[in-house]
């Protein structure tokens, strides 16, 4: 079920949360809405879900216009950042909720619930209450609950935001594998660019109520359409007037055309990577990311004077079209 949102505008009082936004989500894909807090990404997701009504615009599921259809009838599965678990019901009853509402026969419900609990690895926990589960378990339950009614579309609103780093990484991985198995058109909202890069097939970058860019992770990273996208999706540093990626810079020992003279202020060892903080004689401070091998080869010392240039990426003089992955 492909999703098409066109011309979506939404105000909250005077505040414009979404400004003529258009998004296309291919059938069966896994798309991330990526952006900072307050960018409108959650609002967009909720509009697609039917939890918010847009002031203008249309939402289509396949060839069905669902703009005026309530959340109840849209057939979306929705997962909330803080789980929205039904606290007074057991895990089993939570997962079964949608099926009970649809008055499915009892044995069918039982079978489906067990199937889902197995899918999310919560089989032994069926009769516990959400309060007895960890955050990660609660979110898995929420997912099972959303999937129980076989939604055409799965929407997740910062699903891992409330979890510890470790759990977050595990669930990220797990969501990806789940999607491979279940193949429901999925959209998730996140402010974590790494999460988006790792999980999604398509990233839609949202900022101040507008779409900045939509594309595959590699494309968004290497060919950012706007400065905002470049700064948000990956690390940046300044080379004179230009914004570049720290790993696209190269340090050389002698002057070269296009290179800037700079003094090494600090060399930071970050395991495999090394970050060199340089202060050019002319221009703002910048940082260069090198591998350990490269740093050793250069024998960088603090206080040393070196030259730095853009060797890779769109600014490199020898690479007009950026095909090299740093």
């Amino acid at each position: 079920m492909a999703i098409e949102a066109t011309g979506i505008t939404k105000h909250f009082g005077d505040f414009k949360a979404l400004d003529d936004v258009a998004v296309h989500v291919p059938d069966g894909s896994l798309t991330a809405l990526l952006g900072p807090s307050g960018s409108g990404k959650s609002t967009l997701l909720r509009v697609i879900a039917g939890l918010e009504e847009p002031d203008a615009g249309h939402v289509r599921f396949g060839d069905r216009d669902v703009t005026s259809v309530s959340a109840q009838d849209r057939g979306v599965g929705f997962v909330f950042q803080h789980y929205a678990a039904f606290k007074h019901m057991t895990v089993r009853d939570n997962v079964a909720f949608g099926l009970k509402i649809r008055k499915q026969p009892k044995d069918k419900i039982k079978a489906r619930v067990e199937e889902l609990l197995k899918l999310v690895h919560l089989t032994g926990w069926a009769d516990r209450y959400p309060a007895q589960l960890s955050g990660g378990q609660r979110q898995r339950m929420a997912l099972a609950r959303a999937l129980a009614v076989e939604p055409q579309v799965l929407l997740l609103d910062e699903p891992f935001g409330a979890l510890d780093t470790r759990v977050r990484e595990e669930l990220r991985d797990w969501l990806r594998r789940l999607h491979d198995e279940v193949h429901v058109t999925t959209i998730f909202v996140t402010h974590d660019q790494q999460e988006a890069m790792e999980v999604a097939e398509q990233i839609v970058v949202v900022n101040e109520g507008r779409i900045e860019q939509a594309g595959a992770p590699a494309e968004v990273y290497e060919k950012p359409a706007t400065p905002f996208v470049m700064e948000f999706v990956g690390p940046v540093t300044k080379l004179g007037e230009r914004t570049v990626r720290p790993h696209d810079l190269q340090i050389v020992q002698e002057a070269q055309p296009g290179a800037l003279e700079a003094m090494v202020e600090r060399v930071v060892h970050l395991g495999f990577e090394v970050r060199a903080e340089l202060l050019p004689t002319d221009g703002p401070a910048l940082s260069v990311q090198l591998t350990r091998a490269e740093a050793e080869q250069l024998e960088l010392r603090e206080g040393e004077v070196v030259w730095v240039r853009a060797a890779y990426g769109p600014w490199a003089p020898e690479f007009r079209s950026s095909t090299k992955v740093a």
């Binding site: 879900a49 909330f80 929420a142």
Partner: protein, 271 residues
Amino acid sequence: MRALRLTALLYLGALLVAPVGLIFYRTFERGVGAAWHSVTTPEAQHAFWLTLVLVVIAVPLNTVFGVATALLLERREFRGKSLLNSVIDLPFAISPVVVGLALILVYGRTGWFGDWFAEHGIRIIFSAPGMALATIFVCLPFVVREVQPVLREVGTEQEEAARTLGASPAQTFWRITLPAIRWGVGYGVVLSTARALGEFGAVAVVSGRISGVTETATLRVQERFEAFDPVGAYSASVVLALMGVAVLLFMNLLERRRKRPRAQTTTEGLA
């Protein structure tokens, strides 16, 4: 701290505990038999029965009103919302005697609707319906004010989740919202009941205080006192006090279940 503690305890003892304790003592001073007899006369029994009837009418009505209005105030935006909010608190601000007066002026013989009711043979004032209206008035805000903060705290996410899972508004309310607010509702019901049981001023004005007909338990206490029947007054008081203690215990029980700091709304009622 010791001095403070002592002062506090002495104050509470002298003001609350000693007087109430004395009543229990005085009631049974002349033996349990005399006390028992006082509360089982036909008039006394009628008085307690009437009190209970009023509670059974006023509390459920105000509970339904309370839950609906709390939902309205916490889940909706509309013009005049803050006005509605303020009006709900009015029963807290009004002297019960004024409540009684107000009801007479509307439903009494010479009141606004007096003729209409007289023509249809319905008696409001000096009769149970008027007392019911008075009781409803004074208990009105309790459930609303207890449910509102709970609704606010619970938030809308569970309700939204239910909606995305296909639940209708009604299903969402019965299966998700109501269970989430049940302790707030319970607490509000307990407070309303206490208020209804203890109502005096408004029903005193509205009832005509006809013993055996329009006398509630609280009115009976005064009536027995003025009839120089201290045992009668004290024993009726003891029954009411025991009901009050039961209320206190319920309040305490529900308090702990609610798990939130008490007295977010300190606007408890006037009697």
